[in-house]
Symmetry: D2
């Protein structure tokens, strides 16, 4: 409390409205699965995969946080209107560029909807190669 | 993942180091239990009750978020050095002043330690009286 | 660009609408003028002194930053609805509690209105006494 | 106060240390100069162009804000260690993806160094084509 909603594979769901509700709120991490040590890694977090979220003043995705295990890496805050404004829908997206210092990253993203709270992505593993 | 650590009554714990670890990371909400509708309510969140947390560059409390049920009310970000700096210890504290619009608030705070991740307070209930 | 609007003593202004516009957007720092070294100092930043700002979804005060000289001390983010919601007006307010490490603080606050941009307070000086 | 440092073309400067100081702190906006209405636009903000900034616990770039005229579009917060950690140097970088609603964007970025304060980019103009 607040609940952290976790992504559920929407192919396992029957109701269309439920698929939409879960997909449009869930952050998805898009990243390559390995990077050379010392090089910059682009980590894109996009909210929604097959569905889109409203961008209304009273209902929008307000922030995305990126964690590596228990540690916050970066956080981005957004305003209503980032995806076309009142009446528009879209998939909020931010790309963080990081130089990993550990041998392996276990990335997890959180997104926050001003009406439906906190949502957590599936983890993404990145190997850091010497 | 990241884990949300939840406060445990430290009187139920035996080990002193464990009491210290849990207490110094947990946010505590200090608030009166009712407020008149339309009036400002001071909500203080303090991290640590009987114990104190380091304020070092590589180990400090970096933010506090205040939720009402699933909804973010306010969030404050801090820097190392807020509580006396390198070598000092203290209880990070912020006071939000809000005018409740619901009949009842169920407040929960999160705090974030740069080494030991996310921590959640016990909920605090506030009745909003007409 | 973006412009940083600075507070102007409203007693020097003639037009009522201009007094209101400047006062309701400006952050005011409320703090004692000295503190003993090692003790916690409460720094309240309130937006508006004689006038109040709307708290509408498309027009509200979204954040307050507190600087000591060039250095960020704390920043708080708010949502529409903190001061009573759509149609209501109020003075946004947050209290930071800090243990100063310097001999003298020169505090300045910034506030941000989602329609009228960045505003800067007059500085507040605090002597830190050994 | 705090001062907003503005980028100066480093080719006009003589001293190498001054070129380095100004370049490594300044945010640079990388964006195409037009976009079709309703389409997503990638806006990359990178701190430093020819020089790099330390990534130490007590000296790093902690946030980047993106404004369109007077209005905040997005803000990203970072931690020390994003660019390789203690002893490493790099150019902090974040990409915001936005769907413009105006006919023309005038983008300006701010970056914040924990030792050397606020820095402002040159503006970048983007035409939004119907």
């Amino acid at each position: 409390m607040p609940k952290i909603n976790r992504y559920v594979d929407i192919d396992t769901l029957e109701r269309e409205s439920k698929k939409d509700y879960i997909d449009r709120h869930s952050p998805f991490i898009h990243v390559q699965n390995s990077v050379k040590k010392g090089e910059k890694l682009a980590v894109t977090v996009k909210v929604g995969n097959e569905y889109s979220h409203p961008d209304d003043f009273d209902h929008y995705i307000a922030n995305i946080s990126l964690y590596n295990n228990e540690t916050l890496v970066s956080r981005a805050d957004f305003v209503a209107g980032t995806l076309g404004g009142q009446g528009a829908k879209g998939q909020l997206e931010v790309t963080f560029h990081i130089v990993p210092t550990a041998a392996k990253l276990t990335l997890v993203a959180h997104s926050y909807c001003t009406k439906h709270g906190l949502w957590e992505s599936d983890p993404a593993i990145v190997d850091v190669i010497e």
